[in-house]
Amino acid sequence: MGFTSITALIQEAITNNVSIADVVMQSESQALGLDILSLRQQMQERIDVMRQAIKKGLSKKQESPSLLTDGKAYTYEKWRLKNDDSLYAKVIARALAVAEVNACMGRIVAAPTAGSCGILPAVLLTYADEYNYTHRLVDAFFTAGAVGVIIAKNASISGAEGGCQAECGSASAMAAAALVELEAEKMSPLAVDHVVAMTLQNILGLVCDPVAGLVEIPCVTRNVLCSLNALSCFTMVKAGLKTPIPADEVIKAMKEVGDLLPDSLKETAKGGIANTPTAKKIAKEIFLRKA
């Protein structure tokens, strides 16, 4: 995809009076030498895999070899069906579901990574189902992908390089931008700048500190955090709230923070939650079980 900044992407959409997804598909069609229809089919295939992962995680307890993943989505969904029919509760259940399916060696779509794979499906599929936007989902995912490409070019989408802010944080920004695309008929592409800036500002500095080096604690519940962050920022912007710092500057700030983070907080399991006495005990037990 030829764009390197959020500003340029939005400008192109406004100039041509089309949605951001249209701009992205046009650009990818040229870059990959594929027609728009086959691009859309490839994206639909990914959305179908996401939907299957949601179903799997909610309908059956997901238990990982390390035993750190213990069917949180299943338990939460059972409670939710009796007690909470809100959009937010549905998003929580689905983010847990997909992240747990990933932890248990199930089939998922990295978005942008495996560790952050629950955020886009939870936010977008739930919102689209709830408000009848399923026909706009493919477009929304192209907008999400474009934001991810721009973050990858200017900062990072890898926890080992930039901490959790780069993985779950990027997914959060991508999901919020995609919500704007879902409602593109009601919202200006300019809203994408505000939601990307706001989501990333909120999670700047989030470290990658997985217990025993596994994509489970705190990764699974971080998927929930970053899903709700996306949804919250989107509704704030929809209500007309703005943030003065442009998204492209926030992305550069995320890069700066990522570079400043010590290695112990970048996926090495040597700092943060991974370095607590209990986490170290858990890691030792898992290692002994291996022998």
Partner: protein, 225 residues
């Protein structure tokens, strides 16, 4: 990430894969599959050494199941991956802990594979996001990504060999995208990797193998993510 092209939306929304980790699981499957292709057949015996993070956190990420799935020929999104260790049939598999030199990538695996037609050692690393590199085949330091179809040859290091190989490829209308020759010392054996835009059919491989001073030929197909 792609080497000579722009990052695309499908690199970000994708790949479709078996979790939990693109480096420790999806990349590990690709390395296993590359190793099998380099051996050229299903291994009867596989000794698999894990170094660094593969050794320390591989079990929790299913890296052992992932590399064996690759050896069985599975792709990174195959739902049989979690059960691969019970699908090995007559393949004899064992794992060991490995401590390589400091410069080795933390996600490194070494395969010693034995098939009906011989034995080979393949070393590879998972670089993140599912990207991998095979960096050693037997004693040859190499660089093979699995992102492109590739023809591998081992031949005597002498003038004319490369031309002979490229001539056969040209006759089969196969375009060379990239090529590199690795040798241990002048005039001895050399290993050549030719990345191509098309598949190299069996007939072309046989014709190349029939040339004088060419001892070994393999076609290693690309493994899409």
């Amino acid at each position: 990430m792609p080497r000579d092209s722009e990052i695309t939306v499908f690199d970000i929304i994708g790949p479709i894969m078996i979790g939990p980790s693109s480096s420790h699981t999806a990349g590990a499957v690709r390395l296993g599959k590359l190793a099998r292709s380099i051996l050229g057949e299903k291994p009867l015996k596989a000794r698999i050494g894990f170094h660094g993070s593969f050794r320390d956190t591989g079990k929790g990420h299913g890296t052992d199941k992932a590399v064996v799935a690759g050896l069985l020929g599975f792709l990174p999104d195959d739902e049989r991956i979690p059960h691969s260790l019970s699908l090995t049939d007559d393949m004899d598999v064992d794992f060991y802990d490995l401590e390589l030199e400091k410069s080795a990538h933390p996600n490194t695996v070494v395969f010693e594979l034995t098939g009906q037609n011989g034995t080979i050692t393949v070393r590879g690393a998972s670089l993140g996001g599912g990207a991998v590199v095979v960096d050693k085949i037997n004693d040859f330091p190499v660089n093979l990504s699995g992102d492109y179809p590739a023809l591998l040859t081992v031949h005597k290091d002498r003038p004319g060999i490369i031309q002979a190989v490229s001539k056969v490829l040209a006759n089969f209308d196969i375009n060379i995208a990239y090529m590199k020759v690795y040798r241990l010392s002048k005039g001895k054996k050399a290993l050549m990797i030719i990345e191509t835009d098309q598949q190299v059919p069996k007939a072309a491989q046989d014709e190349i193998l029939a040339k004088e001073d060419i001892n070994w030929v393999r076609f290693v197909d690309k493994i899409s993510l």
